[in-house]
């Protein structure tokens, strides 16, 4: 597909070809998935669905499922990438989870997006679909008093098809392994700190999305190579259609009109955050494992840097870190906005 970039094809046509190619690729790779438990018959016409890939996240799953159940997600579609920690059995036993299993390479499957795009294609059409990782927790304006259906109803009424939620890295005050994360625990009891205002934004004109970087990872691990810092822009909530596809992780989509979730005339549109509970006691172990597998983006450059940084006891916390309170705090800081949703 990269070769297409060099051909003199007009952007519009190129995007169309890329979109169809990505959808076709996802359909073709559906055979990599083997069905373990199919409860998709339970899905109602207006249900909000969650699509998740996971690998060895057994400890995190109970809180993750409860969090999104409470928000109003009605059904979870999981792809289990060859877990060995019993998470497969755990998910199989959940009444609102449909589970697929694969041992195909994460990297070779566009970091799991091929699998999820197939499930989105097959089951997501016409639904509001939330595509998240097991360590991402959606926070949106008024999330303490209004369920996710209130948000999706409002988005639908206002003619929006997608909702942005920037990834907000959360970290503990001390060393990562100082407090051990227990199963079922709210991860933000431990990792409750975040960086308030060191994010960089640029616009990608080909796909129309904003490219957001920065935060504690860039500040700590990439201060002299900001370009390599992780991308934080995400669009996890979409009223799905078979014609849509995620382009790169959940950072951006095709068709590109789905990426226009920001106002360019000075106004604010509604947006949320994905609180990222990656930096817990489980991280050190995980980063060693992931480094060995080499299945992550850009040759696992990120994991390499973290590993090097965290070996000598580096901490993410600094005196300017803020302690997380609620969505209103994030709105005051300008990380999210309630836009036109009073």
């Amino acid at each position: 597909m990269r070769s297409l970039q060099n051909l003199p094809v007009p952007g519009r046509l190129r995007r169309r070809i890329e979109r169809q190619w990505l959808i076709g690729r996802a359909i073709k790779r559906r055979h990599a998935l083997s069905l373990i438990s199919d409860r998709t018959g339970q899905i109602g016409r207006r249900d909000i669905l969650a699509f998740v890939t996971q690998r060895n996240e057994r400890v995190r799953l109970p809180y993750f499922l409860d969090y999104y159940r409470e928000l109003g997600v009605r059904h979870f579609l999981f792809v289990d990438n060859n877990s060995t920690d019993g998470s497969t059995d755990y998910l199989k036993a959940q009444p609102d989870v449909s589970l697929w299993w694969t041992k195909a390479g994460y990297k070779q499957s566009r970091f799991g997006m091929d699998w999820l795009c197939w499930l989105l294609f097959r089951y997501g059409h016409g639904h509001w679909c939330l595509t998240v990782d097991p360590d991402e927790f959606l926070v949106y304006p008024h999330c303490d008093s209004r369920p996710l259906t209130a948000l999706t109803d409002w988005l639908g009424d206002s003619g929006h098809r997608s909702f942005p939620a920037m990834l907000l890295d959360m970290y503990p005050k001390g060393a990562l392994d100082e407090r051990i994360y227990q199963e079922g625990q709210n991860p933000f009891e431990i990792a409750c700190w975040f960086d308030p205002a060191n994010y960089t934004i640029r616009k990608n004109s080909y796909l129309g999305n904003l490219w957001i970087q920065g935060g504690p990872r860039t500040r700590t691990f990439f201060p002299y190579d900001p370009k390599s810092g992780p991308a934080l822009n995400k669009i996890p909530l979409v009223k799905w259609s078979r014609r849509y596809t995620y382009y790169s992780s959940t950072h951006m989509l095709l068709p590109r009109s789905l990426n226009w979730v920001y106002d360019e005339d000075g106004g604010e549109m509604a947006s949320g955050c994905l609180l990222h509970a990656k930096f817990l006691s489980t991280f050190a172990e995980k980063s060693t494992e992931e480094l060995d597998r080499g299945q992550h983006y850009a040759n696992s450059q990120e994991y390499r840097a973290y590993h090097a940084g965290l070996q000598d006891g580096a901490r993410l916390w600094c005196s300017e870190s803020r302690e997380y309170r609620d969505w209103r705090q994030l709105e005051d800081l300008g990380l999210i906005s309630s836009g036109n949703w009073p």
């Binding site: 308030p196 934004i201 640029r202 900001p226 000075g266 300008g334």
Partner: protein
Amino acid sequence: MTEAVNLGVILLCHANLRMAARMARIWADGGARVVIHIDAKAPASDVAEMKQSLSDLPDIAYSRRIRCNWGRFSLIEATQHAASQLLETWPETTHVYLASGSCLPLRPIADLRAFLALDPNRDYIESVDTNEVGWVIGGLNEERFTLYFPVDWRKHRKLFDRCVEIQRKLGIRRKLPRGLTPHLGSQWWCLTANTLRAILNDPRRKEYDRFFRRSWIPDESYFQSLARRHSGSIESRSLTFARFDHRGRPYQAYDDHLQVLEEANCFVARKIWPGATQLLGYFPRPAGPGPDPTPPQPANIERLIARTVSRRILGRPGLYMQSRFPRKDSENGKTSAPYAVFQGLTDIFPGFEDWLRDYLPGDVHGHLLGPEMVEFAGRPEIGPGALSSSAVLRDYDPQGFLTALIRMTEQMQVFQFSPRDNQDLNWFMATDPNAYLFVVTGAWNLPLLDMDMPFDDIRRITAKLQRTEMELLEVLNSVWVKARVQLWEFNDFIARPQAILDKALGQIDPDAKPVTKLPPMRDITGLPEHLQRLRNSGLHPRLTGDQPITKASHILARNNI
């Protein structure tokens, strides 16, 4: 007193009939007679279920079902049928309230009756002359009446817009019926039976109907215009609280609005999110010991809505984030607060930064845009907002860096600048009304005086810095400048630094204490010779001004080369 008011309600329902049935029950329980119009498009099973659930209430009737299309005359037709039926079935009705199936009464119906009884001949209908601009948000105003609308907007938006455009070009103007002044207003009203009867029985009704059949969104103009012809006393406001966003879509109420809705003391609110169970359970409030006729006081909720509208349209100044990324010059405020930039002063006074801290109340930083690092006040590794002091990281998005810093800090930000620093923000700062820029030109020459470097290198650096500063001056002298800029030539500044600094600081902070003592100045004794030497080497130093030069030193300089 309340006996004088016999309230009839027309309930227009199209979707969510379960909620509509609930509303009908509230009205009927409150002693109102209700005529329900159900859109002909509603599924038969839902209608049957609704009728079944309301079968125990005697004072409910159903009017002829019409297929209603949004923005078309069918809505008026449905209202007319229901109104005629209401007035025929219950001729003793004194007031008719038009509500929808998703309008929630917030106060007991007895309160509404008591309120109407205060002035029984008054019609409560918002009715604004179309010549008065400003009622319509994001839509057609007067053209609703003067153009033709053959296609449905919801189904064929592009065609609709094209139609309007073509008619505008052709200069098409429909004739208004004689004597009719079009008025617009909220589609939810409460009219006295007399006024409503007069509208329905108007001898020219056919003519009016024909006219409004072709108008755009007649439910916001039919009764609003005709009431002006027939009513003796109009109070131009709607008793139903409904507000629209900048695109003309109604705002919805959720559970967390409970308190603000209660404070607003409105009779009826539209529209409620169907899942707001807490609201639907809480309202309408049970009747108190006696009816309470106080009028609505929606000031608080209006403020909430005004804040939302301004946030959606204007946004918060100086904020750049995932859902607000204004293009250049559409920022509605490039930065969120005033800040001051001093160029050249650290070159003249090496201790300027510390000195300035005593005179200005803000955070005084060093060279924030400096080439080696971000010189935050006190030189921490991580500055306000967790901004890194890495210059590489800052230069990755300098504008984001500066705006975030200004937005994150509570005090005024003051920093030093020089041609050695990152120049990417020159236009940004020059066109930002929040910026105070103070520039002493040519001051960057001074540190080069005691630089222990080969003359060729000094000459090269001088040329580069001079070019950079001249580019900045070009920006600062352009017609686009919005910042408050003060420029001094080095010579002028050196002649009376204390007075100039005093004035400059007074401009930033009117309460700044007078400048009485200056920080130690860098030694400038060798400057004339240095400049002459540059001149002799073929470079033309332009920004430092003419330095008086003694003959002896002139010869000295020449001999050195």
